[in-house]
């Protein structure tokens, strides 16, 4: 499992700091969601990328999580999220985030 682009994220975060920084994901598979969330919180679990062993501690959310989607302006939601929300099994995709939050509060 891979997150290419770890290097650029690491650079952005090195410059901007991590205060109030969150990741918002759009992946359509639960395994991808879990991999991104783990990498950004605790470091690259495959130990292959620039974030291997680097724990940025950044929390991840999915754009389709109900509490996130509810904050989006309605016309933007309609244009950008209505279709993906219907196409994906949202509960299945966001599942790993719930587990991760319980394990690493």
């Amino acid at each position: 499992m891979d997150l290419e682009g770890q290097g650029r994220i690491k650079q952005v975060v090195e410059q901007a700091g991590t205060a109030d920084v969150i990741a918002v994901l759009g992946a359509n598979s639960p395994t991808a969601v879990e991999m991104f969330a783990l990498t950004l919180k605790s470091g690259d679990p495959s130990y292959a990328g620039p974030l291997a062993g680097v724990a940025l501690g950044i929390p991840s959310f999915h754009i389709l999580e109900p509490e996130i989607a509810a904050q989006i302006a309605p016309e933007v939601y309609q244009r950008e999220l209505a279709l993906p929300a219907m196409a994906m099994d949202v509960d299945e995709v966001i599942g790993p985030l719930k587990t991760l939050r319980e394990e690493h509060p």
Binding site: M1, T31, R79, E80, L83, P84
Partner: protein, 476 residues
């Protein structure tokens, strides 16, 4: 006037386990950790397993895509040992044959190949009716010492069959980043697999057409042929035509990320429809960069490395004769700059666009060919089932528009979708790999119309944040 027809399609594969270490992901990882090579080599499949692999048999036409639903997963666990290495659409050639073809296509004299490999390639390709004896006798075999010397000097990349070094590929220039041995290997592999597809298609139409009857070739693949002053110069089409014996043809390349080949088919149809040419041949070679892309996941799951074949494809577009299925140029799906980057805008442009213009409901299209990437490759890597994801988007749009009931999504997908079978993601997976199957089904009266849709991730090139796509209906 009737729209131009698809009259022949060749789908070919080339087994390339020795080249997996030169795929983009493997090569970068191996640079950091050379010890990985043993682990990679341990998971490369022998030729017979690649031949017997269900999705590969689908690709060359011995099975329909729908047949994969009945084959128990994982498909790699039970290759069909009796499956032939050729099918109605084309061949799955062995690696020695691929190397021999690459040597045949090597006009700059960059490649060395030993006598044994050339002999094997010659014998097998002759048996397939894809080469003439004389042309296979032209490249001079090179002795092991000369090959070793080229590799030791640092100027050449080793070419291996299993654990033996059988040849090398040299860089084209001391300083030119666009002519490194690695770039040239990518380009030569694309050229050779495109030539393979062209040669196979020409045998398919040999009864009524000579190579001399082809005036124009359009290539849409994923390589970049050029030099330090123009890294993506292109026109691999003409180079492919030359080594496929299509001497009367001119041509050029179409470049649009993964949508390249489908755009080339539409472009060919437009040229024929405009009366510029009576027929145009479209060709795509394989992407070496994408070999082993998901290898990490395959190793972790103790699976064979499934991205070990290069795909090629060729399509003949001709003036309609009333019998063959036609490309509906009046109802294209196009995604304009201002269409916006939302998922809905893209799916609407590619699906509702053509259907709306043609006056069809979603359920009136027999099959949708989207990105038909083999899920057995992507699921272990956490990327899910790509064709299924695309079908869910189409069905969801149908539900949003009221054409499909919300609880009818699964049924719609089962009736109008298909399992994926293309060996790598990219241009070949993007709809065109289904043209051969659709042509067969339409000729036998089993299918009336299919929608072919391809997406291009333009944002990957960092010149725009836009996505892209193109689609058209093929209709009997």
């Amino acid at each position: 006037m009737a729209f131009p027809a698809v009259t022949a399609v060749a789908n070919v594969l080339a087994h390339a386990p020795g080249l997996v270490c030169y795929g983009s992901k493997p090569v970068r990882d191996l640079r950091r950790d050379p010890a990985l090579l043993d682990a990679v080599r341990a998971r490369l499949r022998p030729y017979e397993e690649a031949v017997g692999y269900g999705p590969n048999q689908v690709y060359i036409g011995n099975l329909d895509p729908e047949a994969l639903r009945a084959l128990p997963r994982p498909w790699f666990r039970m290759p069909d040992r009796r499956a032939p290495s050729d099918g109605p659409f084309g061949d799955l050639i062995s690696e020695p044959e691929l190397l021999g073809l690459m040597r045949l296509c090597d006009r700059a004299g960059l490649m060395q190949l030993d006598a044994a490999t050339l002999a094997t390639a010659r014998e097998r390709l002759l048996r397939r009716g894809l080469v003439a004896a004389a042309e296979m006798d032209t490249p001079a075999p090179v002795r092991a010492e000369a090959i070793e010397s080229m590799i030791r000097s640092g100027e050449g990349l080793p070419l291996r069959l299993e654990d033996r070094v059988v040849g090398s590929l040299a860089r084209g220039h001391e300083e030119d980043e666009a002519l490194t041995a690695h770039v040239l290997l990518e380009n030569l592999a694309a050229k050779a697999t495109g030539v393979l597809a062209l040669r196979r298609l020409l045998t398919q139409v040999a009864g009524r057409l000579d190579p001399g009857d082809i005036p124009f070739v359009l290539a849409g693949s994923e390589e970049a042929v050029g030099d330090r002053y123009q890294r993506g110069g292109g026109n691999l089409a003409k180079a492919m035509a030359e080594d496929a014996g299509i001497g009367g043809a001119a041509g050029f390349d179409v470049k649009a990320f993964c949508a390249s080949t489908l755009y080339a088919v539409f472009d060919a149809a437009a040229l024929v429809h405009a009366g510029v040419f009576p027929r145009v041949l479209v060709v795509a070679g394989g992407s070496l960069a994408k070999l082993g892309m998901k290898y990490r996941a395959h190793l972790a799951k103790e699976m064979p490395i499934l991205e070990d074949v290069l795909a090629g494809l060729a399509v003949l577009i001709e003036r309609a004769d009333g019998r063959e299925p036609v490309v509906r140029l009046d109802t294209l799906g196009l995604h304009a700059v201002s269409s916006g980057s939302s998922q809905q805008a893209l799916v609407e442009a590619l699906v509702m666009g053509p259907l709306g213009k043609a006056g069809y409901r979603l359920t009136e299209v027999d099959r949708y060919a989207t990105e038909m990437h083999n899920p057995e490759i992507t699921e272990p890597a956490g990327s899910g089932d790509v064709p299924q994801g695309n079908y869910r988007l189409i069905a969801a749009l149908g539900a949003l528009k009221g054409e499909i009931p919300r609880d009818g999504v699964a049924e719609f997908i089962a009736a109008h979708g298909m399992p994926g079978y293309a060996p790598t993601q990219g241009h070949i997976a993007s709809a065109v790999c289904y043209l051969a199957h659709a042509l067969r089904a339409m000729r036998s009266g089993k299918m009336k119309r299919a929608l072919f849709m391809a997406k291009g991730s333009l944002f990957l090139g960092r010149m725009t944040a836009l996505s892209d796509g193109v689609s058209f209906l093929l209709e009997a």
